[in-house]
């Protein structure tokens, strides 16, 4: 860590991990409600647990992205953060707002929360992933603006690198597209059309710029490969992302009242969306093979390579699986969607967050470059437990989804939804058990922060 102000990242990373734990606990509650329908009913209906699960996910990823920016922007720009105090202040505003919102979900009925927060004045609540009260959404906008100002000024006064520029474009895009969450017409087709401008243009658009920039930063640092080479890769990856991903939004415009030509546009362009993810995999392995030094933080390297592989599997392969219109006709809004959602979110955005946390945390805790061997080994156990669990969660949900599509949507005598759900309960049990293993993996991972603190950093051979 070269600049004092980078330290503010630590707050963001710790809060992110706390919310990660909450996310998983509520995921397990839902997983149980899937098979024991009356579990916690009526105290915590399924939809409430789901809101906490998905909103905690989004907020902790945003926290991790902000932490990543506060850490890497000063280092890239070779200057202190423009306004460190603003970063700290915004952290507390964001964290308290997130806490208050979750408390509102848990303690009030959703309709009371809507009344309390005066949803009538500017109704934005009650849409998937955008369940936050309008006031919370406005808070997010304020935090995002202050954040962009801080980062932007830092970049302006310092060295301008491609990584910083791409990161800034990604984060700006994130804030801009979030504004569509305030557009909520009664017309359901229009509502859904622009809802995807937040959701799809985030995860298959601007967030990929953030992902690429963080990955490139960690690879430069851990491999010592020439910046020119890495920056060229970064540009070409994000070029492919947006060239395919913008029109690729069309894969959500097949069955929601939109014109039928979207079946062509959406299928063709989204079928190419795996390309940038594949390039990311090639890129990461190439850079590691060409490394000019051996970085002592082996765990961070593992996370970086893991991200490259799992993002391709979850977004690329599992995305492709259901993205062509004739397939999507049978899988739309089924457990196949959930399977893909889990592996893509984990593989791309959870793992890149844990990559930068793994890389930066040792320095933020006052070490030179890496944690002790013991701590790293523990962290890598966490990596494998969580990653293998998500693979199996995805496989079980895929099994459930294939059966669901088959029983409910195909054949001579299609079966009603609730009956089908009963028939495929075995898969949900397996998913829940695997979820418990995921939680164990998360605990192992978190415990790695507390072991071997007084032990030295591992020695590394100077590279060839």
């Amino acid at each position: 860590m070269k600049y004092k102000s980078q330290k503010v990242a630590r707050l963001y990373f710790i809060a992110a991990l706390v919310l990660f734990v909450a996310q998983i606990l509520f995921g397990l509650i839902m997983g149980l409600q899937y098979v024991m329908g009356d579990f916690l009913f009526p105290y915590m209906p399924f939809n409430v647990a789901r809101m906490v699960h998905t909103n905690a996910l989004i907020v902790w990823l945003l926290m991790a992205f902000m932490g990543a920016a506060y850490y890497l922007v000063p280092e890239e720009a070779e200057t202190e953060l423009a306004m460190p105090w603003l970063a700290t202040l915004m952290f507390w505003i964001f964290f308290l707002a997130a806490g208050a919102t979750v408390a509102g979900y848990l303690l009030l009925s959703y309709s009371d929360l809507a009344k309390l927060t005066m949803n009538d004045m500017l109704p934005t609540m009650g849409r998937e992933f955008l369940e936050q009260p309008t006031i919370t959404k406005l808070g997010i906008v304020v935090v995002a603006l202050a954040f962009l100002l801080n980062i932007g000024l830092t970049i302006l006064k310092g060295r301008k690198t491609v990584i910083n520029l791409v990161l800034l474009m990604g984060l700006t895009g994130l804030a801009v597209f979030f504004l569509f969450s305030f557009y909520n017409p009664t017309n359901v087709v229009l509502d859904k059309y622009y809802w995807w401008w937040v959701v799809h243009l985030w995860v298959e658009g601007v967030w990929e710029l953030i992902l690429g920039a963080i990955l490139a930063f960690v690879l430069i640092k851990t491999t010592g490969v020439d910046r020119e080479v890495i920056e060229k890769w970064l540009y070409i990856i994000i070029a492919m992302t947006l060239i395919t991903g913008i029109i690729g939004t069309g894969h959500h415009y097949y069955w929601i009242g939109t014109p039928e030509y979207w079946q062509w546009w959406g299928s063709i362009f989204s079928a190419m969306e795996p390309i940038p993810f594949f390039m990311m995999t090639v890129f990461a392995f190439n850079m590691v093979n060409k490394r000019r030094r051996n970085h002592p933080n082996k765990a961070a390297m593992l996370w970086a390579l893991g991200t490259a592989v799992m993002a391709f599997l979850g977004a690329g392969v599992w995305g492709f699986l259901h993205t062509l219109a004739p397939v999507n006709y049978y899988t739309h809004g089924s457990q196949i969607t959930a399977a893909h959602g889990h592996m893509a979110f984990y593989g791309a955005y959870v793992m890149i967050s844990l990559t930068i946390i793994s890389y930066a945390m040792p320095m933020l805790m006052g070490r030179t470059a890496a944690n002790s061997n013991r701590s790293q080994v523990r962290e890598m156990w966490g990596f494998w437990l969580m990653t293998i669990s998500i693979v199996f969660i995805t496989l079980f949900l895929t099994g459930a989804g294939v059966l669901q599509a088959f029983l409910q949507r195909m054949g001579e005598n299609p079966t009603p939804f609730m009956v089908v759900q009963d028939k495929i309960a075995l898969f949900y049990w397996l998913r829940e058990i695997t979820g418990v293993v995921f939680l164990i993996g998360l605990i192992v991972y978190l415990s790695s922060f507390f072991v071997g603190r007084n032990e030295p950093e591992p020695e590394v051979a100077v590279a060839e």
Binding site: M30, Q33, G37, D38, F41, P42, P45, F46, N47, V48, R50, M51, Y110, S111, K115, N119, P123, M125, G126, E128, E131, T186, N187, V188, V189, L190, K192, Y193, E228, K232, Y235, I238, A239, L242, I243, I246, I247, T249, G250, H252, Y254, W255, I256, G257, T258, P259, E260, Q263, W265, Y329, H332, G333, T337, Q408, R409, P414, T415, P416, F417, M418
Partner: protein, 149 residues
């Protein structure tokens, strides 16, 4: 990557490609807006009688987070039945929908996935049913494949 392919070229592809495809996306969006009126059941929305009811129905739909358990036209949660076509599934009967929502037991159904009792007034029930009827009138290119959603 070959030396002939420079960083500047990569950068130009990024900016040029992004700009081009974003503009194309805007053009397609513009064209879609032209086609929406013939597909999105606007007649119901614009009817002086039904319009306000549907608007109230959508507000209730949102303020009770129905999407947190159900899908609507395939988007939402996968815990409970698709509701975009529930009007058709329930024999085109608003009364059947209202009756279902109204009759949810307060403490759920033992051992079964349960839907909360929202204590809606008759006017609110009617608005919700009208909203679901309106959605079922959207031209979704024959999705879902059958009445089970």
């Amino acid at each position: 990557m070959a030396q002939a392919f420079t960083k500047t070229m990569a950068r130009n592809i990024f900016y040029g490609g992004t700009l081009f495809f974003f503009l194309l996306f805007l053009a397609l969006t513009f064209d879609s807006h032209g086609q929406f009126p013939s597909r999105d059941n606007r007649a119901a929305l614009e009817s002086p009688d039904l319009g306000p009811k549907i608007a109230l129905g959508k507000k209730l739909w949102e303020e009770n987070d129905c999407i947190g358990c159900h899908t609507l036209l395939g988007e939402g949660a996968y815990f409970a039945p698709e509701l975009g076509n529930v009007y058709k599934r329930f024999g085109e009967s608003k009364e059947a929908i209202m009756g279902f929502i109204k009759s949810r037991p307060k403490d759920g159904v033992p051992g079964r996935r349960s839907m909360p009792q929202f204590n809606f007034t008759d006017e609110e029930l009617d608005a919700l049913a009208e909203f679901l009827k309106y959605v079922s009138g959207i031209n979704t290119s024959h999705w879902p494949p059958n009445v089970n959603g």
